[in-house]
Every structure is written in structure tokens, then in C-alpha cells.
């Protein structure tokens, strides 16, 4: 049956376009409701999860920028500058002057904001895919555990997903109706993608390949419906490239302070990321890692996590997009483009051996858009009315399930490794240890700042530098500090204990071998399975005790 001829999907009163009228109150009320839910998942109590090591690195970089005005793009690690500069803008607007006023909650406000912007982008698709699809996309982004979890994560990923999503939509707009504004906006979005993460080449390649494939399979008579040649005109191309290089240059050069950053942003592909993507020591996972995690994840006898609903709807969207009469003609081309983009991007990410769960955001966003198309197609193919009601009930259950998982992921299992998104993550012992050490450090006011030493092989003491950024007298060590004075408060990896014993009890002359006590009453873990041990000199412990803590 040709969907174009079906009475229920024809004209503005169809489900694809039922709420297309801008005055449609129902659409806006439902959208508003979804946005509120999305905001609650993103902004509420976003400081309860311990700071991840990667978040801590970005936090320290931001604090350096805030207090010293210093940022230099590092071609070897830590990605691009958009995160710290976006945070700087927010700090200036909110009147946050210095490091002591910077909280985890404030820092996570930035990705949460971009997580919300990612939702808002879906409104652009309203006239192209219809309200049912847009509402589905909104709901899925709002409730997806992956989307909510990484919206509360102070790393570049949500910004990258947001800029990639924006670029995708602007490109669609530009090739539908080429204008100078859309060329400029597309260049801005691409530059922001680039300055967020070096992996911007993946979505860019996916867009070009998807567009090329689509163009190639279009009958010649249909190609005239699309403004490919005008969109790629000399004027637009030059403008696009000029804006792209200008904005990228501005950010990578730290607004002119570090011109070296511009070339570093290019050489990084050869010096770092090519090798990292293929031959990285850690984070190497099989091709099905992301999809497997999204489909079904259970660690031990822990909670079962699944975003299979989204994958199944996306599968339905893919079938609908490529079936002859799977979708109305007017949306089929864009649906095919979006589906191809999602498929290609998923393939690209899946076949790169280096994988971390947050990397999925960019292609998962594309999958969600296709899922929106799939949900709409399924709804339309459901006849009679009672089947639709049944389907809506099933959708409601599925969405509720996603919402419940998001609740668990963000407010309950936020630091346990039974949660698929808790990856290389500090345990809840870290903020507890940090609070205790900060408390003890404040005790020792007589002799100035308490000297604290962190001794972890491979400098594996993150995120502690974030938690102790305000303490001035801290030594960060990867080996036993032979020539530095021994601190009264030491945190170390268990494997350092033998050398530490020598440092504390054998190396000093008799009469200077201070007695140390264990800092913690119980085993404390930096990450699951990675123990940390604390040692406090007896005199400091006595001082702390007398403080009445």
C-alpha cells in the first residue's frame, strides 16, 4: 500500500504532520513536559557522582584558565578547548571568580546545558519528519541512560554530540535551500566539532559518505529536487572554509596566545590519534562493544541495563527508510540520509579498536533520530485503532523503562561498575577520602599547610588533584620520593608499601622514624579493584583527634 495515498497520513492532519501547525498547543505542551523531564535528569543533584579522572583533568585545566588565563592545546591528550572556554563564559556570566568557587555541580552544568540543547535541535526536524517522530526523538534523548549519564559528565563528549547534531541539521538545511547564513552556521558547527574533539572527522566523513551514496542512488530526474550544486558553489565553499579555519584557529591558538596550537591540532592526527585509535594500550574492545552494551548489559548478578528499545526502533526506521513504500515520499530521502549517516557513523566507531563508552554519544544520537522515524513508521503501519492503542501502551512501557534506568544510572548506581556507563570510574570512597584528608589538612594550622604525598605508580592518582586543588603543599609522585621530606599524610598504592616502609622506618636515623597509623578504618578503593592506602603520622593524628573530629 502506498503510504502517500493513505487517508490518515495525508495532509496536515496526518500523524506525520498533525501538529505541524505552529499553534498546535498539544505538541508544545508535550514538548515542554519532555524538556522538563530532560532538565531534571540533567541538572538535579549532579554532584553526587565522584569526579571521574577525565573530568578532574578538564576541571584543573579550566581552573588554570579561570585563574591564570592560561590554556594551551595539548596535541597528546585532553582533546580540544571548547569545553573549558564554554565553562569560562558561564563562570563570567555567573560571577565565579576563582577556583574555590568552582564546584563539580557548576562544571557539570555545562555538559548538561549542551545535553538540553541536543534535545532542542530535534525541533528542526518537525517540518521534515513530523511531530510524532520529533516527540519520540525528544523522549528518547530525554530518557536514554547514556544520554542522561554523559550529560552530567564534565568531558567534551556532550558538546561534541551537540555540535555534530547541529552540523548534521544545518547541512540538511543548506542542501535543501542553500544560503550564506547556513554555510556560515555549518562552518561554525564543524569548527566547534573540531575544537571539541579530534574525532570530528568521523561524523564529517559519515555525512559526506551518506550524502554521496544517497546522491548516487537517486534517479537522475529526482536529483533536480536537491540543490547540491548551488550548495557547493564557490561563494559558499570559500565562505565555509574561511569561517571554519578562522574559528578553529581562534580556539586552537587560545585566542592568539598560542599560535602553535593551530599546527598541533593538525599534527596530532599523526603523532597521537592515529596510533591511539588502533594501537592503544587500554580501552581496546571488540567491534560490537557499543551495540552490545546498548542492547544488553549485566555485570555479575547486577541490574540488567538495556536500550534495546531504541535499537529496535532504529532498525524499524532503517527498514522503513529503505523499503519502497516504507515512508511517505517527501520524507523518504531525508530518512534515508539520516539512516545512512547513523549506520556509517556506528560502523566507523565500532571498527576503531579504541573504545570508551562515552564515545557512543555522537552515533547514538543519530540512532535515536532514526528510532524516531522507526516509531512513526510502526505507528502508521499499525491498523486497526486498538492495535495502535496497544502500541502506544508498549511505547509508554518502554519509555518508562528507559526513564527508570536513567534514574538508576544517575541517582542510584552512579558509581558502581554494574552500571555500563561507570567506566574506569572512581568509587564513592574517593570523595570520602578527600573529605577526610581536607578535614585533617585544616587541622594543621600551626605549621602552615599540611604536607601531603600521593604515591601511585604511573601517576594513577586522579581525580585527587581536583579534590585537593586548593591545598598548596601536595606532592604528586609515581615513585617513592627519595629526596623529598616525608609527609605526615600519605596516600599510596598498596604495591608501594614495601618501599614506603623503607622510607618511613629504615631510611631516617633512629629517633626520627615517626610512627604512622592507617588513615582509613576499612579498605578504600580508588576504582573498583584498585585499592588506595592512607598513612597518617601519629602526631598529626593526635592533632586531628584533638580538633574533635
Amino acid at each position: 500500500m502506498n503510504l502517500e495515498n493513505r487517508p490518515d497520513i495525508r495532509g496536515d492532519r496526518t500523524l506525520f504532520g498533525r501538529f505541524s501547525d505552529p499553534s498546535s498547543r498539544t505538541f508544545f505542551l508535550i514538548s515542554l513536559f519532555i524538556l522538563i523531564i530532560a532538565a531534571l535528569f540533567r541538572f538535579t543533584a549532579n554532584d553526587i557522582r565522584p569526579f571521574h579522572g577525565d573530568e578532574a583533568v578538564q576541571g584543573i585545566k579550566f581552573v588554570d584558565l579561570l585563574e591564570n588565563g592560561e590554556y594551551r592545546y595539548d596535541p597528546h591528550e585532553y582533546h580540544g578547548p571548547t569545553l573549558v572556554y564554554a565553562t569560562l563564559v558561564a563562570a563570567k556570566l555567573l560571577g565565579i571568580p576563582q577556583s574555590s568557587a568552582v564546584t563539580e555541580s557548576f562544571l557539570r552544568f555545562i555538559p548538561a546545558l549542551f545535553g538540553l540543547l541536543l534535545l532542542l535541535q530535534a525541533f528542526y526536524l518537525r517540518k521534515r519528519l513530523g511531530n510524532f517522530a520529533v516527540l519520540t526523538i525528544l523522549l528518547l534523548i530525554a530518557l536514554s541512560p547514556a544520554m542522561t549519564f554523559y550529560s552530567r559528565y564534565y568531558i567534551q563528549e556532550m558538546l561534541f554530540a551537540c555540535f555534530s547534531g547541529a552540523f548534521l541539521l544545518i547541512i540538511i538545511a543548506h542542501f535543501s535551500r542553500p544560503r550564506l547564513q547556513s554555510a556560515v552556521l555549518a562552518a561554525c558547527a564543524l569548527a566547534l566539532m573540531y575544537t571539541s574533539k579530534e574525532t570530528f572527522v568521523l561524523p564529517l566523513s559519515a555525512i559526506i559518505t551518506a550524502g554521496g551514496l544517497l546522491w548516487w542512488q537517486l534517479p537522475p530526474e529526482e536529483r533536480n529536487n536537491y540543490s547540491v550544486k548551488p550548495a557547493l558553489s564557490f561563494k559558499f565553499s570559500v565562505t565555509f572554509l574561511a569561517v571554519f579555519f578562522f574559528i578553529s584557529g581562534i580556539f586552537f591558538s587560545s585566542f592568539g596566545d598560542n599560535p602553535q596550537g593551530i599546527s598541533d591540532a593538525i599534527t596530532t592526527y599523526f603523532s597521537t590519534y592515529l596510533e591511539k585509535g588502533i594501537e592503544h594500550q587500554w580501552h581496546v574492545h571488540p567491534w560490537y562493544y557499543y551495540l552490545g552494551m546498548l542492547f544488553f548489559f549485566q555485570k555479575g548478578d547486577g541490574f540488567i541495563w538495556s536500550e534495546a528499545l531504541i535499537l529496535l526502533l532504529a532498525a524499524a526506521g532503517t527498514i522503513a527508510a529503505f523499503r519502497k513504500n516504507g515512508l511517505p515520499k517527501r520524507i523518504q530521502t531525508i530518512a534515508r540520509f539520516l539512516t545512512l549517516y547513523a549506520l556509517l557513523l556506528t560502523l566507523f566507531y565500532s571498527f576503531i579498536p579504541y573504545k570508551t563508552p562515552w564515545n557512543m554519544l555522537c552515533f547514538f544520537h543519530a540512532i535515536i533520530i532514526v528510532a524516531g522515524i522507526g516509531a512513526t513508521a510502526i505507528y502508521h503501519h499499525c491498523q486497526p485503532q486498538w492495535l495502535r492503542i496497544l502500541l502506544m501502551g508498549a511505547f509508554a512501557l518502554g519509555f518508562t523503562h528507559l526513564g527508570y534506568q536513567s534514574y538508576r544510572a544517575n541517582f542510584q548506581d552512579y558509581a558502581t561498575n554494574t552500571n555500563p556507563h561507570v567506566y574506569g570510574h572512581p568509587t564513592s570512597d574517593v570523595p570520602k577520602a578527600a573529605a577526610l584528608i581536607n578535614n585533617i589538612a585544616q587541622t594543621d594550622t600551626s605549621a602552615g599547610a599540611t604536607h601531603i604525598q600521593f604515591i601511585f605508580p604511573g601517576n594513577d592518582y586522579w581525580p585527587f588533584p581536583w579534590y585537593f586543588r586548593l591545598l598548596p603543599n601536595i606532592g604528586w609522585w609515581s615513585t617513592i620520593p627519595e629526596n623529598a621530606p616525608t609527609a605526615p599524610l600519605i596516600l599510596a598504592a598498596p604495591e608501594m608499601e614495601k618501599e614506603l616502609l623503607n622510607l618511613l622506618y629504615f631510611k631516617p636515623p633512629p629517633g626520627q622514624r615517626h610512627l604512622y597509623l592507617p588513615l582509613f578504618d576499612e579498605a578504600m578503593y580508588l576504582r573498583p579493584g584498585v585499592e588506595m592506602r592512607g598513612y597518617i603520622r601519629q602526631d598529626l593524628w593526635e592533632k586531628y583527634r584533638n580538633k574533635g573530629e
Binding site: 615517626h514 610512627l515 597509623l517 603520622r537
Partner: protein
């Protein structure tokens, strides 16, 4: 001879294994567990108005850390006292490992400054000293001074490892350590790995009376090789 060789080899192997096990154990930092007596506060403690008094922890003290193999060197060793005829008990109750506060477990020495001295019978690296004066009642003992020396007269290589004599009434200088309330946990003193053979404990009365009491004194360390 041919029969002896395997036995020799076996014995040598065992000896090497034993030595390496001992050396490995010495290379470890171990929490030294103290077997603590039962807490015996009886009745409402008096309101103590003592200067420089440390606050109670309100939770058990963690074990202290020392090289594995650290033991109580004072246990059963020769002990003497400035009060040769204690009012209650015998001097050797002080290092018999009985830390209970019940009658028959403590020694009562006369008033004013008194001391007991333990001879470790060998030079030792001393990491910690723990002393229990009397924990049947919440009390504070005054002028608690602990010294380590190489000779019984405390002339050679004398080191004061604890001193809470805030007015120098004992004559060893003004102490910077705090007064403390006696508890069943005893007072843990950091000896900072000082070397010595003799350990002397001074005190001069307490908040309840002028007498001096000792339940147990433990000296944790390892003999100098």
C-alpha cells in the same frame, strides 16, 4: 657421604626458604594489633579541670604501623621502680601482658614523682610505647614522662619520647605533649624508632589522688642486629 649430601641440600634449602620468608616479612609494613582490655569506667566520671587536655576520640584508635616482626620487647623483662615497696601489687605486674584494670592487675606506687624502668636486655629500635596507668576510672596522670636510654642510670643517650609536664615540676623541661584521660586503650606514644635498651616511665599523681599506678607498659620494637 653420599647419603648425607641430599640431607644437607634439603636443610640448606629449608634454611634459605626460612631466611627469605623472614626477610620478606621484615619488608612489610604491618598494623601492630594490641590486645586491649575490657573498658572499665565505673560510675559518673568526675568533671576534670585539667589544662592542655586532649579530647577523647570517641572511637577505637587504629592500630599503629611498624615493620613486620615488631613485638612487645618489654614483656617479662627485668623491671625496677623508684618505689621499692609498692602500696599495692608487685612491680612485675607492669610487664606481664595483663592490661585489665581489676584488682590484682595493677601496682600502686607512692605519691610524688615516681618511676619504673624496664630493661629490654638488648639495644632495640623502639617504634612505639603504650602505657596503661589505671583505667577503672576516668583519670588524668600528671607529669607523665617517658625516656629511653642506653644505661640503667639514664646518663648515656637519653631521649625523652613523651612529656606532658607543663610546668617542668619533674625537672625534665616543659613538656609539649597533652594530658590525656586514661582509657582501656592505653596511651600510644611515638618513639620515632629511637634506639636504646632502658625505658623509664615517670608520673606524679593523678586527678583522683597523689598516688601513681601502672597496669601495663609495653615497648614495641625490634632488637638491633
Amino acid at each position: 657421604m653420599t647419603h648425607i649430601r641430599p640431607v644437607r641440600l634439603l636443610l640448606t634449602g629449608l634454611l634459605i626458604a626460612l631466611l627469605s620468608t623472614t626477610m620478606m616479612a621484615q619488608d612489610e609494613l604491618a598494623p601492630i594489633p594490641l590486645e586491649l582490655p575490657e573498658a572499665l569506667f565505673i560510675g559518673t566520671p568526675g568533671n576534670m579541670d585539667v589544662k592542655n587536655l586532649e579530647k577523647p576520640l570517641g572511637k577505637p584508635r587504629p592500630p599503629f604501623l611498624a615493620p613486620a616482626g615488631t613485638v612487645n620487647l618489654a614483656l617479662g623483662k627485668s623491671i625496677s621502680s623508684s618505689d621499692e615497696e609498692p602500696v599495692i601489687g608487685e612491680i612485675d605486674l607492669i610487664n606481664d601482658d595483663d592490661k585489665e584494670a581489676s584488682d590484682g592487675s595493677y601496682v600502686e606506687l607512692g605519691p610524688f614523682l615516681q618511676h619504673v624502668t624496664i630493661d629490654l636486655e638488648t639495644q632495640a629500635n623502639i617504634y612505639a610505647v603504650v602505657v596503661w596507668h589505671y583505667h577503672k576510672q576516668a583519670r588524668v596522670y600528671f607529669d607523665v614522662v617517658v625516656q629511653v636510654a642506653d644505661d640503667p642510670d639514664f646518663v648515656k643517650n637519653v631521649t625523652t619520647i613523651f612529656n606532658n609536664d607543663i610546668d617542668n615540676s619533674a625537672g625534665f623541661g616543659v613538656g609539649v605533649d597533652k594530658h590525656y584521660v586514661e582509657t582501656s586503650e592505653g596511651k600510644l606514644i611515638d618513639a620515632k624508632g629511637v634506639q636504646g635498651r632502658y625505658v623509664r616511665f615517670y608520673s606524679a599523681g593523678n586527678t583522683s589522688d597523689d598516688l601513681n599506678h601502672y597496669i601495663e607498659a609495653a615497648v614495641y620494637g625490634k632488637p638491633v642486629k
